[in-house]
Each structure stands twice: as structure tokens, then as C-alpha cells.
Amino acid sequence: MSESLIKLDAVTKVFLTDEVETHALSGIHMEITKGEYVSIAGPSGCGKSTLLSILGLLDSPTDGTYLLNGRPVQHLSLPERARIRNREIGFIFQSFNLIGDLTVYENVELPLTYRGMPASERKAAVTEALEKVGMGHRAKHLPSQLSGGQQQRVAVARALAGKPAVLLADEPTGNLDSKNGDSVMTLLAELHKQGATIVMVTHDARFARHAARTIHIFDGRVVQEQVESDPTR
């Protein structure tokens, strides 16, 4: 067994709105090792996005421990969390979330600039990432000039340009038609083959099958873990 990258222990998340408590997560235990491709499934409102936010350090758990690379991260300061997001985590969103005023190239470059990487290294990394997703020829375009599928490929390039420890994807195909969705899924599968760790939320059982392991969540709890026979092999 390879070493554990992510380890959640009794993680809970309670939202308080207008004095109503919502228990989005109620005691999640989970372990993800380096190089794994995990999909998270479950009905709407069961806490998938919340879980992913916590994994991505966009949010912190109400209780429980989160070890990232063996280091507890649930009580870090804001700048520390920003630093970890920048270096260790790559995000892919359902709605792409590219910055409209920046070109494809600049969008991909963004996390690298926050890292203070020198320009020449940035250029190499951005070019490599864009080539990987097959968008090298569109570097100068603005996001509004691309199709949805192309935008999501750029988003994937942005997520992996910094060589993060883990890629987090929340319904990456949610805004795409099935053809574009397929191609993005193929892309992720390729990245996984090249060694990337991927955690992906998806509704679509078809896509969930790309992953080696699927974690089913219901009402804020892990209810079932299912290990697929690897369909690509």
C-alpha cells in the first residue's frame, strides 16, 4: 500500500444560518492515497461539495482532523491555507470559473504567479499544461471565445500546471454536453494514468466508473465504498 495523501478522521461540518443548524457532514472518515482516482457520489444536498471544499482547504471542518501529506491542516491561518491551496491543490469547477478578462495563457499562469515562480519557468509550465489538454493553439484567446468543452480543458490545464498533489473536481462535466463531457473525462483518466491523484464529485454513474474507487455519501456520512474493476485496464 502506498502512503496516505489525505486522511479525514471524524470530520463534521455544521452550517449555522438564521439559527438553523445544517449538518452537512456528520463524521466522515476517509483516506486517499497518492495516485488514486476517487469519485464521490450521492444524492443532491448530501454534502459532496462541502466535503470537497474541506479537502481543498476552501473551508475548514467544524470538528475532526484533516491530515494532508501527514500534516494536520484544519487549524491553519488564512495565508497558510492560501499557500497550500496554491501548491498542493488543483481545482476544477463545474462552471469552469475562468477569469473573463484574462487570456487562456494568463488564466493558466495565474496560480504560478501566486507562487512567485520566475517568468521563464512559468512559461514552460503553462505551455506544457496547455499541450497536455490539447489547448496549446488557443493560448491567446479569451475564455468567451471558447466553447464550454474547451473552457473546461483550460480549467484542467490551470489546475494541473502547478503540479499539485491532488486534483479536486466538482462535477466537471455538469455544464457540458455528453460529447464534451466524455472528452474531459478521457483527459482526466489520462492524467490519472500519468500519476495524478484525483478526487471527483459526479452524479453520473457512467463517469464514476472511470474512478478506481467510488465513495457513496448519504446525509453527510460515508455509506458505501465501492472498488471498481478498472475499466480502462
Binding site: 476552501l58 481545482f91 501566486y114
Partner: protein, 807 residues
Amino acid sequence: MRSDLRFAFRQLVKAPGFTIIAIVALALGIATATTNFTFYNALLVRPLPFIADEDRLLNIRTYNLKLPKDDFENSVPDFQDIRRTVTTLDNSLTLWNRTYILAGTERPDRVLGCWITADGFQTLGVRPALGRLFRLDESKPGAEPVALLSHGLWQRAFGGNADIVGQTVKLNNESVTVVGVMPAGFGFPENSQLWQPFPDHEPQQKEDMRGSHGWPVFARMKPGATIQQVQAELDTLAARLERDYPKTNSGMRFRALTVREQATREERLTLQLMLGATLAVLLIACGNVANLLLARAAGRSREIAIRAALGAGRGRIIRQMLTESLMLAAAGGVCGWLLTYWETDFILGFIPVEIPFWIRFEPDWRVFAFAAAATLASSVLFGLFPALQAARTELAVELKDGARGGTGSGRSHRLRSGLVVAQLALTLVLLVVAGLMMRSFLHLQHTRTGFDPRGVFTFRTGIPPTIEKDEQVALRFFETAEQRLREIPGVESAGFLSYLPLSNNTNYGSFVIEGRPEPQPGDRPHALARAASPGVFPTLRIPLLRGRLLDARDRVDAPWVILISDTFAKKIFPNEDPLGRRLSFDHEAEGGKRKWFTIVGLVGDVTQRPTQREREPAVWVSSAQRPDNFMSAVMRVPGDPASYQRAAQDAVLAARADIPIYYAMPMTKVASDAMWSQRFFSGLFTSFAGIALFLAAIGIYGVMACSVSQRTQEIGVRMALGAQPGAVVAMILRQGLRLVGLGLALGFVGAWFAAQLLTTVLYGISPHDPPTFALVPLLLALVALAACYLPSRRATLIDPITALRAE
């Protein structure tokens, strides 16, 4: 239309924060501009009250060709020549301000009045409220003395008794028949309360008084005549007088201006600058409202697109938007109008001097029209951009499914940024102007005056020559009064002098120095001449530099002595010892025989007029040798000088029961009143600039806050990608900094040129005063950055999870 109104009202009520900020900004802008127009109107626009056809009423003054800017009043013989010979003039008048003592009331009452040419009121075109005007024969020798009362004096001293006409009153110990009462509010030339016909036999009328200037001349042009024709005739007359009377008239010319032009000569530029400044404040306020509307229009672009998709035409949409801005403007205008009343009163409270009768600050229809026009114009100004912007909305983009904010509003954002840059630039200009005026005022305030006003109480008193012809009686009165003042417990020293330092009164005399060739009459040096009793110097702490001060020896039968000021010594005796030298004033020469004063001492300069740009030579003579009828007392006292008013009054009444005191106040008040207009105008400009700063800060805050909220998603992405909070703040600040930098650069250039206009109203500093030009932009930059900092802080509080959630 009704539905437009209803919808507009609903929109305004729906966003109360927006509506309130917009109305406050507009009310401030409109009130500030309207208040200033009230002043501008009162001095420069509104017709002079009581005066018929003011454009034909001229004020004629004399000047010396060598100093054409320093004009002065005329001599009576010159006036008579003007009256007799200038054919384009219908009629003319002269006058002489006099202090009257009105007996018969509880205490002797001092009344400011004047002699006026008997048919002067006909020349002005004013009619009495009661009784009649003077008859021409009432200025003849032996005529029964008569007087006209002002409405105010009639009310105050005679209880408004309608039978006053024909009664006699005791004026300066003379029985005078009241022939009429002038209309309420009339006080020509400024705040006169009493008028008497200028007697024909008065010595001033004699030919040998041609060198004695001090007589204002007003003249009415014949219908159809132009001021150029009058001026040409005056030039011809001046040339002839120069030929006939070289001793008094060489180099002398006359200048005719309309009464208004003359009366407002000094204020005109300041008033124009002020109106300009306040219109800038209004523009800045409009910029704010336009910005708020644009921000809202950006948020409403979808609503507008839906309206357009449903078939609303462009005109229809513009009308809807303009209805809204008109409603806002109306609300701002009404609040502004109410604020104007309060602001005008508030500002008038800072004017310590009596305002001449012809200046009326009550708002009239012109002020109202100005406020209405300002309101309407600003509603168009701030309403039009957003309306046009809204009408140009691109339907396809706006209604496209899933289109996310940020892309479609680029143009609107540029417009808003442009407005902010303009606001900042205008604000910088205003701030620099205010800064310069403030610095100039502070400079004046800290200029050495040469005496110590602290702990000194002062008042004025005297015996009118009609009560006591004999100057020696007046002299004895002052000496007794001075003695009594010294006996008041606590008083350390006291003295009388002809007029106070820092009062704008002046008396210049031309003179010759013994043993030097006599220059031509027009070339003679002038000096400020003051008469003083010995007690004045210790009381005002005027330093003796050399020789001796005046003392008890310098009486009328002793040799005549004179003290000269430091500047006098430097200018007139640059390389000589002045002590022991003698000088003689031209106006003291009688029948060709000169009277000589020996210089016995050298004293420090004492500032007479605070706005005098150069120190002027001055002399002091002994009031025992040159008695005056009216003098100012100064007394050095411990504690609060104002508390000595009663004791001072009693001391004077003890010296002579029929003589009142007036202008009683601490000397520090004299000093501060002397600079009231500098303090007043610099204070006003500073408050306008403060309002502008406030509005501009709101403006840039609004734009940045709106930009942050439009960029929520983008900022969320950046934070998810690991941007540090500091980097987000820096990014927003950089955006703000670009606007601030551009605004400051433009404003700096504008301020540089605007400052040039101020050259003549600034004292002691250059219009391009480096500290002002360095610190004021810094101040504005700091305020603007603070205004940007708040939205940038808010940007770091954006929750990336919320920002990134798919819609």
C-alpha cells in the same frame, strides 16, 4: 407617464441607501452652489436698491499717472469743475462722512451721517418715505439747518413718530429741523443714518483745497451718453486742470466706473472664483450620482434587456431612466434649497463688519432660478450617461443563458472610472486653491504687526468740530479722558492716537526734507501720518529703536517734533542719520510758509493695513501739537480687556458728559477683524474643498466597491487558486491607485493654472507655493487610498465557495 413616475418612485424607495446618498450629494452640491450664487447675486447681479438706472450712475475717482492702480477720492474744487464742465453728465454729487452726536436721548448717541450735495438724492433717483428732500437753497450760508433721517434712526431714536417732520433735534449742539425720513434700508453711501446738505461756505469748497482729496463723487450720465464719452471729457478736463493748477494737479487724472463696478472691484475676482469653485462642487456631486446610477444600471441591465425584448423602444427606456434622475434631482434640489437658507445665514455669521445697505442677501427670484437651473442641469448631467448606456444594452449578450457578469459591463466601468478621475482632478484643484488661500491667510496672521494687541482695550471718541470749534478744547478733553482712564483700577497705561493700527483708515501726507531740493509736487514722497499721545507707545509696546519717544514736553508751544518709522528711515535716509533732520508736510504749509518738524526718534514699523504688500514709511506726531477732533483710545489692562468697557465709558463721560464712546472692543478683535475677509474667504474655500473631498471620497469608494462586487467571482477564483489576502488587497488598491494617479495628474495641471488666477489675492506666498502643491495632492491621495482600502478589505472577505458555486 404616470406609470413611469410610479415605477421610478418604487425604484428609489427600493434602494434607500442609494437614494439617500444621491440626495445628500445633490443637496450638498446644489446648496453650496446656490449659497454662493446668493453672494454673487447680491454683489454683482441684483439691481441696486433705491438707485434708479444704476448703469448710468458713475463713481469718479482721481489717480496719479505714476501709480494708476492706487486711485483715491477727489478734491471739492475738482468736483465742482466736473459738475460745471462735463456735458455728458446730467448731475453729480459729493459727500463727506461725519460723526454726529445726537442729544436728547438717554445717553449721548453717536450717529454716522454725511454731508451730501443738496440735490444729491435727485441724482441718485431716490425719494423720501416721509417729508421731502433738501432744497438747493438749504446749502446756502445762513439757511436754517436741516437733516434727513434714515428709517432705522427714525425708528430707533424717535420711535417711528410720524410727526417728526418739521421738528427740531439737537445734533452736535445745533438745532436742526428734520425735513424727511428716507425709505427703510436706504443708507447711501454705505450705512449712513443721517444726511445734511453740504454747505456752500464750507472751507473745503475754497480754491486752495484743490490738493485735499477725500471726496467721493457720483454722477449720472445723460441719457444716450456712454461711459467712454464721459471718460474722454474727464481726460480733457484733467489736462486743463493740470495746466491751470500744476502744483496740485500735475499727473492727476480721473477715472469713471459705474457705481457697481467700483463698489465690487476688489470682490469681483474672489466672487467669480468662489462661484467657479462651488460649481465644481456641484459637478463632483453630479459625478457621484451619475456613478451610483451607472452602478445600478449595470445591475439592472437584465431588467432593461427584458423590457427591450418585450418591445420597449430606446426613447421609452431613456425616458424611464430620466424620470428617475429627475425625481432624484427634485428631491436633492428641495433639500438643497432649504440648506441654502441655513448655509447663507451660517456664513453671514462670520462677517464681523457692517454690510453696506445696497448688498442684500435674501434670496430673490434670481437665486431661486439659479437653484432650479442647477437642479435641472445636474439631473440631465448625471441622468443622461446612465440612460444612454442603458439604451445601448446588447440584448443578445445580456439574455444569453449562463452569461456571467464582468464581460458586458466593461464600457460602463470605463465611464465610471472616467467620472471618478474627473472628480478627483476637480477636487485637487479646489483643495489646492483652498490650501493656497489658507496659507496666505496664515501668512498674514503671522506677519509681524509691530505692536502687541494682547491685553489692550480700545474705543473711539471725540468732539465734533461743530460742538467745539477750538481744537484746544478737544485736546484738553482727550487729556482729561486719558487721565481718567489711567485712574481706572488696574489700567497700566493709556493713550490716544488718531487711528488704530490694522484699521483700514489711513492718512497720507506728502512732505519735503529740509536741505534737499524740492521735488515736483507729483514726485514728493508720501508717508502715513499718525498723531499720538505719549502713552500710546508703552500701551501698544511699539519699540523705540533710536532717539526718544514723544513725551510731556512736546506741547503746542514747544518745538514741533516727529518720530519716524524704521522703513521711513531706510527709504528716505538710506545713508544718513535722520535724527535732528527736519521735514515739512505740504498740507501744513499756510500762505507759502512751511512748518518744520524735527525728527527726534526712530520707532519700529507698525502695520496699518494687513494686506499692504510692502512696508510703508510712517511718521508719528504729537497729538498735543497736532490735535484731532476724533481719536482712538488704547489702554493696557490686566485680564480680559472687554471687561473694561463700562469703566472706559464712565471715564469719558466724567471728562465730558455729552460725549459717547464707540467702536469699543479688545485690540485683538481689531487685529482679527482686519483680516476677516482673508479668514472668511479662505475658510469658505476650505469648506467647499472639504465637501468636494468628501464627495470625491464617496465617489471613488462607490466605484471601487461596485467593482469589487462585480469581480466577486474572479476574486473567488483567485483566492481558490491560492492568492494571499495581501495580494487581493494589493490588486484592488492597484486598480484604485491607477484612478487616483490619473486624477491627481490631471488635477495637478488644472491646479497649476487655477493658482495663477489667485496671484492678486495671495499674500506672502507664490501661487505655486511648493508646500501646498506637495502636501495637498498627498492628502488627497491618502484619503482616496483609504476610500479604496475599505472595498479591498471587503474583497478578502469574499467566500470563495459562495463565489464559485454554479448559478
